[in-house]
């Protein structure tokens, strides 16, 4: 791997007392955001990059914790000295979004009004709410304008939303493996995942915290389903094929095929730490995301709200069937129609939607090349 890791990092918290009115009509009277930063903000405060996380991500984007050296950030391979998000050049900020379960205010946090976990009372949050909260964090850090906002998948949607909601505050948007809105198929997958959680007897209408239980079975199924859609058929074939754990058929319903074993392991691991209410919220944020709604569904008009000087790098992956290259090209087309500075790379990588998290010389080369041209 070229470049180095950022090494040991620590997270920080920011408390906000100014109420946040949400897209859903709800209000958060106060909230906390947990975040990490890597590199140094320059004197002109012109070198800040915001990394937005996807469905299951969080603020621990790069490096490791001194007391937990194996807890490596989820996008460590792209951040650090000599890496595309070069911390010798850039000040990189990652946070856990509102509604998350990694330290920012979310359904498992205590609702000050009741003294109990928010649970089902936690308001539905939208991508635009996250952008607003991120903007307030930027204010707190003294960052008037991001050199770039970058994200994959749902993170890319936040980057896109930034260019529309806060056009003056983002000089570049790097939108990877994303889409201007979900398709019916995408929403359908999300709904099956939600149904798995909502129908788990341990869900208790979202207030399972009070029952000292968690809807682990539902969350596990949701993750297993999601995981299938993040991988490519070819990759699954190469990785697992029809391999049997014990070499022969057992003629029962135990784990037999390696792919079953893998998915169950992934499901168990995820269900062990992730909060089911957060999963529900994140999938709803995905479903609702459609910035063109403001403009009668016209994405060209929506992207016309971006700043004429904002630059865009759009990237997709050939094997991503969840957010196909065609979806990224919808964004490209709308940007071209507005004469925006845009480059588009369609990257041939075999890991399906999850490709955006992988280390690949060409993929990282494209992001690196784009970022090196940004004037600070």
């Amino acid at each position: 791997m070229p470049g180095q890791s950022v090494g040991a990092v620590s997270s920080q918290r920011a408390h906000f007392n100014e109420p946040l009115t949400l897209r859903s009509g709800g209000t958060l009277p106060a909230y906390e955001l947990v975040y990490e930063t890597y590199g140094t903000l320059n004197a002109a405060k012109s070198n800040a990059i915001l990394v937005c996380h996807a469905l299951s991500g969080h603020h621990h984007v790069a490096g490791h914790y001194a007391d937990a050296p194996n807890n490596i950030g989820w996008w460590d391979n792209i951040i650090g000295p000599g890496r595309p998000l070069d911390t010798d050049r850039y000040f990189v900020v990652g946070l856990n979004n509102l509604g998350g379960c990694h330290g920012s205010t979310g359904p498992s946090s205590i609702n000050p009004a009741t003294g109990k976990p928010w649970g089902s009372d936690f308001p539905i949050v939208a991508v635009s709410d996250w952008v607003e909260a991120q903007a307030r964090l930027a204010d707190r850090l003294g960052i008037d304008q991001w050199a770039a906002v970058i994200g994959g998948s749902l993170g890319g949607m936040q980057a896109l939303r930034w260019t529309i909601s806060q056009p003056e505050r983002v000089r570049n948007a790097i939108i990877i493996a994303s889409a201007p809105k979900l398709s019916a198929q995408n929403i359908a997958f999300n709904d099956v995942a939600r149904q798995a959680i909502l129908t788990d007897p341990d869900f208790h209408g979202g207030n399972y915290y009070e029952h000292s239980t968690r809807p682990v079975r539902g969350l596990r199924l949701a993750r297993m389903l999601g995981h299938i859609t993040y991988l490519s058929d070819d990759q699954m074939g190469e990785k697992f094929g029809r391999e049997l754990r014990n070499g022969s058929f057992g003629f029962d319903f135990d784990v037999e095929f390696e792919v079953e074993s893998y998915l169950r392991y992934q499901g168990d691991k995820f269900a062990g730490y992730f909060d089911a209410n957060t999963y529900l919220l994140m999938t709803k944020a995905l479903d609702y995301f459609d910035p063109a709604r403001l403009d009668d569904g016209d994405l060209i008009r929506a992207m016309g709200r971006s700043h004429p000087d904002t630059g865009f790098l759009i990237a997709s992956f050939t094997t991503d069937w969840r957010f196909t290259p065609a979806r990224s090209k919808e964004i490209v087309t709308a940007l071209l129609a507005n004469n925006r500075n845009v480059s588009y790379a369609e990257i041939d990588l075999n890991f399906g939607h999850d490709s955006f998290l992988m280390e690949d010389a060409h993929y990282h080369g494209v992001v690196d090349a784009y970022l090196r041209n940004i004037k600070l």
Binding site: L313, K329, V332, T333, L336, A337, N339, N341, V342, S343, Y344, A345, E346, I347, D348, H362, G365, V366, A369, Y370, R372, N373
Partner: protein, 203 residues
Amino acid sequence: MTHLLGRPDFELIAGWIEPGHRVLDLGCGDGTLLKHLIETRGAQGVGVEIDDANILAAIRRGINVIQGNLEKGLDEFADQAFDHVVLSRTLQTVRHTEGILREMLRVGREAVISFPNFAYWKNLRSVLDGHMPVSEDLPYQWYDSPNVRFFTLLDFEALCAQMGLIIRERRVLDEQGNTVEANDDKELNFLGSLAVYRLTQNR
């Protein structure tokens, strides 16, 4: 004689671009021409390129480049979005010749096209000697050539006439990049190694 960026057709094309003009370069390679047009002619430019290494090189140059396959059309571009749509030494590599010509004049006011002339006398002599031509403008062996369409200057003009495309300007160059003069089109077809055209369409 030395030419701009080692490409005599680039020099001609650059001369036709005015400040502020919007240029789409199809098969833009590493973005050399676009970079030049932006820096010296004050043009605004976008490239389309299929090859990964070229996409990387163009982004590194700071060029706006869209990865795509010309055979599939130019759907991402709006009608008449450009002043010039450039296709330099690429037409002979495209299967859907009529399709790409129509698309170029849909998205742009003017198509600027350069291509190697297969009827150039040295190419003809090579074939008469028993071998496919290899030259400055046809720098490939038959087995590794990206070229899929083999045509001459006169063939191209016949197709333009058939499609109702108007030839605004034609420049024909020899292997050294010098402009070739001739008594008639047939002689020009025989003497020219590379042809550069500006096409428009009645709208």
